[in-house]
């Protein structure tokens, strides 16, 4: 796959969340976007991380849950515990953002894109230019394109 074909996957009409957007607003934007995650920009408008489904789950549940090696012994929903976390919806999205800098430039190759998806548990990869987000590539789109290409070749 040439860089040109990767570029074809870039979604450019993606909202970029500001660093001080509340979690509540971020989740609404996420639902409206039909994407599993959105890029977040810092105060200078530069790419700062990703906020998506996984980060929302992290915000909604107590933070110690991530420190538990296993939680299969919690067999009932802990409504009261979740109620206590409602305040998280008013917190800035930056508190929960995945700040691992996973981004690529527009001339990324398919191998580089595959390597990035394989090494990082992200569902989108922002395309950046000089630190600013220009669009995103989703793992689902990449998969669909790869699968379509291979199946076409197989049937041909």
């Amino acid at each position: 796959m040439s860089p040109r074909r990767v570029v074809a996957l870039v979604r450019r009409d993606v909202p970029v969340l500001a660093h001080d957007t509340t979690v509540d607003a971020a989740v609404r934007a996420l639902l409206d976007s039909d994407l599993p995650a959105l890029p977040v920009a810092d105060a200078r408008g530069r790419y700062a991380g990703i906020f998506g489904e996984r980060e929302f789950i992290g915000a909604l549940f107590p933070r110690y849950v991530q420190s538990l090696g296993y939680a299969g012994f919690v067999t009932q929903s802990m409504e009261a515990v979740l109620d206590k976390r409602r305040g998280a919806l008013r917190e800035p999205v930056m508190t929960y953002v995945n700040s691992e800098h996973v981004d690529v430039s527009e001339d990324v190759s398919d191998i580089a894109l595959a390597e990035t998806f394989l090494h990082h548990r992200v569902l989108i990869i922002p395309i950046t230019q000089e630190g600013h987000v220009r669009g995103v590539v989703t793992r689902a789109d990449f998969f669909t394109q790869l699968a379509g290409r291979l199946l076409d070749e197989g049937s041909g």
């Binding site: 107590p62 110690y64 991530q66 420190s67 299969g72 012994f73 067999t75």
Partner: protein, 417 residues
């Protein structure tokens, strides 16, 4: 000698500052004493206590393989459930489980396993988790004092002296039990207003299914007997003419043979930064010894105490507690071991080592930076959104250490003087 002292003092100061990773500091210090030829390579390698490293590595593998079974989580949850919402019983059982696990695993691992469960229990019971976490950390440092493998200072002392597992238990466990009860009781009284559980919350943790915390029952059946056998063998290693490191590595090897976990996963349990920290320290202390600094320090201590055994024993205990609180009990113990060897002068009087163990291990409770378990608990608390500040820890750490050391002093006086 001056250069060896300067490099060592700079390394200690850097470790105490917590601004640079302690392993990096120890490695840089070790390389500096080698590059400046303060110690030659042959003596540097001789200064490394391979028995200590073997014991640490063996136990790291044992703990890594068994923790995946979920058995330690089970212990913590059952401790919480058995309390049935009674705050004092909850504190006693959680602290007791932490202390016992610390004695037979190591206190850092225990804290890493128990603290997240404590947050969960506290959330379910709707109480402040911080008092429980602080009590557990302090209990882990006290509990780890009881055995040869429970706390790094004891592992270092055993490596240097060859004292047996049984000797550690016989000499340290009695005072550890008393100290645990007094300090835990005192901390409960201090925190009791923050540990009140509403009547309608008391059964909240009973809903947890502790049995389901056993993630891999088949693995537990394979490894559980080997874990018990390893611990039991520690008690009789002297009679079997086996060194503790051999026991730990034999246990680890047997577990590697029977486990279904990949070898890489088992060996990933070895905390290389910790081992390199120890290697760096051994070389640094070796350079002090090589250049006569330890001998001079010991002579200085002897001149202050006038060779009086009582003054020396109590001096070692209290100075170790103070030093461990300021620096970190591992480098402090590594430094004190050759000093104590000089003071003891081959008399075979083991009381000196018990005084050092009590001071260094109990001193680990004085400040947030005094023991690795304290730092780990603070890190987890911060990630959980309930940070434990240096002063917050100090408010309970200093009184707990003072009480522990007063009890240790009485014990030393009654038993060894």
């Amino acid at each position: 000698m001056a250069l060896a002292i300067v490099i060592f003092a700079a390394a200690l100061a850097a470790i105490a500052s917590e601004r640079v990773d302690r392993t990096k500091v120890a490695m840089v210090g070790a390389i500096l004493v080698l590059l400046t030829q303060t110690i030659d390579q042959e003596h540097a390698i001789e200064a490394i206590d391979w028995a200590t490293l073997g014991l640490l590595a063996g136990m790291m593998i044992v703990v890594r393989l068994t923790e995946i079974t979920g058995v330690y989580t089970y212990v913590a949850i059952r401790a919480g459930q058995l309390a049935r919402g009674r705050p004092f019983v909850l504190v006693l059982l959680l602290a007791g489980a932490t202390a016992v696990l610390s004695a037979f695993l190591d206190n850092l691992t225990t804290v890493l396993l128990v603290v997240p469960i404590t947050f969960l229990l506290a959330d379910a019971l709707d109480i402040d988790p911080i008092p429980l976490v602080l009590i557990e950390v302090i209990a882990s440092n006290i509990g780890g004092t009881a055995t040869l493998i429970g706390d790094p200072p004891n592992i270092l002392i055993a490596g240097a002296t060859g004292l047996s597992f049984g000797a550690f238990v016989v000499n340290l466990a009695p005072i550890v039990v008393v100290t645990f009860l007094v300090v835990t009781g005192g901390l409960y009284l201090f925190f009791r207003s923050r540990l009140q559980i509403a009547p309608d919350q008391r059964d909240a943790v009973q809903a947890l299914d502790a049995r389901r915390s056993i993630e891999d029952a088949a693995e537990l059946k394979r490894l559980g007997p080997l874990l018990i056998l390893t611990i039991l063998t520690f008690f009789v290693h002297r009679q079997l003419h086996l060194e503790p490191a051999t026991v730990a590595l034999a246990g680890a090897t047997a577990m590697i043979l029977v486990t279904r976990q990949p070898l890489e996963k088992a060996l990933a349990g070895i905390e290389w930064p910790t081992l390199f920290f120890f290697i760096g320290l051994f070389v640094l202390v070796g350079s002090l010894e090589e250049n006569g600094a330890i001998e001079e320090l010991a002579q200085g201590v002897a001149s202050v105490t006038g060779g009086d055994r009582t003054a020396e024993l109590l001096g070692i205990a209290w100075v170790s507690a103070l030093g461990s609180g300021i620096v970190d009990n591992i480098p402090f113990t590594a430094t004190m071991i050759p000093v104590v060897e000089e003071l003891q002068a081959g008399s075979g009087d083991d009381a000196y080592w018990w005084a050092l163990a009590l001071g260094a291990c109990f001193g680990g409770n004085a400040t947030l930076v005094a023991a690795a378990a304290n730092v780990a608990a603070a890190g987890m608390a911060e990630r959980a959104g309930a940070p434990i500040g240096f002063l917050t820890f100090l408010k309970v750490g200093i009184p707990a250490t003072l009480v522990s050391m007063l009890l240790a002093t009485a014990y030393i006086a009654l038993r060894y003087l």
